[in-house]
């Protein structure tokens, strides 16, 4: 608490644990996406070859993907933010409606610590990651499940991978467009002006 009072220049947004969780998750997701591209896009597959090695890396990175979040659960700050991400208030409905109508005025985009878009993204990507993990395991350990399931798992894995790729590109694109938001994830604190403008209902 005293930390915040001592640092008038910035507002504390993420704890070191949270940033560590984000960084390792992002790295693992990056490995999954890159290896997936090398297995899937014919031109890259031709360039890289080494199919067995690439598959191994992909499998282990995928298996490790949920670990940072699970470890992060030990942190009170991380659990508190999961709570913020989970709970939707009336202002989130307002935010979503504005987003649907492409209304970019700050007044029509009320948000707490996380805006409604960030909340939806977080919940969806968490679920999607577990679906990828589940279908991935079915493709990996084919003898653990009825074997007809493998084709079905491949089907879901492929299409969801494509969807995740697009959504992830959106996530990264939005981060690229907002340096202060990136600074929050990099250093842990953001400027007061940014917090007031982007997250007016946030009371850090």
């Amino acid at each position: 608490m005293s930390l915040r009072a001592d640092a008038p220049a910035g507002v504390r947004r993420f704890s070191p644990t949270e940033r560590w969780v984000h960084r390792t998750t992002a790295a693992l997701m990056g490995v999954c996406v890159l290896t997936a591209a090398c297995l899937y896009v014919p031109q890259l597959a031709e360039l890289v070859g080494r199919r067995e090695l690439v598959v191994r890396i992909h499998e282990w990175a995928g298996l490790a993907l949920p670990v940072p979040v699970l470890v992060g659960l030990a942190s009170r700050a991380f659990r508190a933010d999961l709570g913020h991400l989970n709970r939707f208030g009336p202002h989130d409905r307002t935010w979503l409606r504005a987003a649907l109508h492409r209304d970019k005025r700050p007044a029509s985009r009320p948000a707490g610590k996380f805006n409604a878009g960030q909340k939806l993204y977080a919940s969806w990507i968490a679920g999607a990651t577990l679906v990828m993990l589940g279908t991935g395991l079915m493709m990996w350990f084919t003898h653990l499940t009825p074997l007809i399931w493998r084709t079905s798992a491949t089907f879901v894995h492929d299409w969801l991978a494509l969807t995740i790729g697009i959504v992830l590109a959106g996530h990264i694109g939005m981060a690229l467009a907002d340096p202060e938001s990136r600074k929050g994830m990099r250093t842990g604190s953001v400027s007061r002006e940014w917090a007031d403008r982007e997250h007016p209902l946030w009371r850090p």
Binding site: Y40, V41, P42, A45, E46, V48, G49, R50, R51, E52, A80, G83, L85, N86, R87, F88, G89, P90, H91, D92, P110, G112, K119, L120, A122, S123, W124, A126, G127, A128, L130, V131, G134, T135, M138, T142, L147, I148, W149, R150, T151, S152, A153, T154, F155, V156, D158, W159, L160, A161, L162, P200, L201, R203
Partner: protein, 249 residues
């Protein structure tokens, strides 16, 4: 979460915890994923029909990148594969034969060609319908080399330096097993295993070794590359690898 309640007391926001929409989205995504697995066979058939049709009219080729967007997928187990052309390509037949032979591409082209049109079925699920393959019957090459009576099987090697395959002698003598020079009525390109690949019509496509360079007659089946990694040696489509695809030949 108690802090929220206290903080909520000030101005704009009512002091409530809100609906757990995040949890619902999370669980909903999981549920949809499970539903997708259950409904996959039906969904996949519909999509294949749709995308197969779309791919025919798609000049960009982007549909080929969609899952099951029709067409082949490139798998190579080696880090890089040398390119061979009509000058540099050689196919050797050795092992338990009276007349070990080396064929050039021109030699193979000069032999009677057989054209087969069957579906291609990969063990990972994708299927390409009605794909023409053309080449020399493997049985013809074996007869020319005069296989010893003690021989039981064939080992195939490839000029990628890594991949291997196997067939029993009976399987290898089937009329629908070719040393293929052409696919889809075009000379086999490098990425499809050209200039020469094996084509084993009734089996999963991993049996159809790309970049074929060696045919060795042996006295027992030596499992090939993927077979040492858990795939079935007798890879009949629909009757192996725990799959029930419609047979291709």
């Amino acid at each position: 979460m108690n802090e929220d309640v206290h903080e909520g007391v000030n101005d704009e926001q009512p002091p409530q915890r809100g609906t757990p929409v995040g949890r619902r989205v999370f669980l909903g995504t999981l549920g949809l994923g499970a539903l997708g697995v259950v409904a996959a066979p039906r969904l996949q058939r519909g999509l294949e029909d749709f995308l197969g049709g779309a791919a025919d009219k798609d000049p960009t080729g982007l549909t080929g990148l969609l899952p099951n967007g029709g067409g082949f997928r490139y798998y190579s187990v080696a880090s890089s594969v040398p390119r061979k052309n009509a000058d540099s390509y050689r196919l050797t037949i050795d092992g338990l034969v009276d007349h070990p032979t080396t064929y050039t591409l021109a030699d193979l082209k000069a032999l009677p060609q057989t054209r087969l049109v069957r579906d291609v079925q990969c063990v990972t699920g994708w299927r390409v319908p009605d794909t023409p393959f053309e080449g020399v019957r493997l049985s013809r090459l074996l007869d020319t080399a005069k296989v010893h009576p003690t021989a039981k099987a064939i080992r195939f090697t490839c000029f990628d330096g890594t991949y291997t395959e196997s067939l029993t002698l009976d399987q290898a003598r089937r009329a629908d097993v070719l040393v293929a020079l052409r696919m889809q009525d075009k000379d086999l390109g490098h990425s499809h295993g050209g200039p020469v690949r094996l084509y084993v019509a009734p089996m999963y496509f991993y049996k159809s070794a790309k970049w074929l360079s060696g045919i060795t007659v042996t006295d027992e089946v030596r499992p090939g590359y993927w077979e040492e990694r858990g795939y079935d040696v007798d890879a009949w489509v629909g009757r192996s690898n725990g799959r029930d695809d419609e047979p291709t030949s």
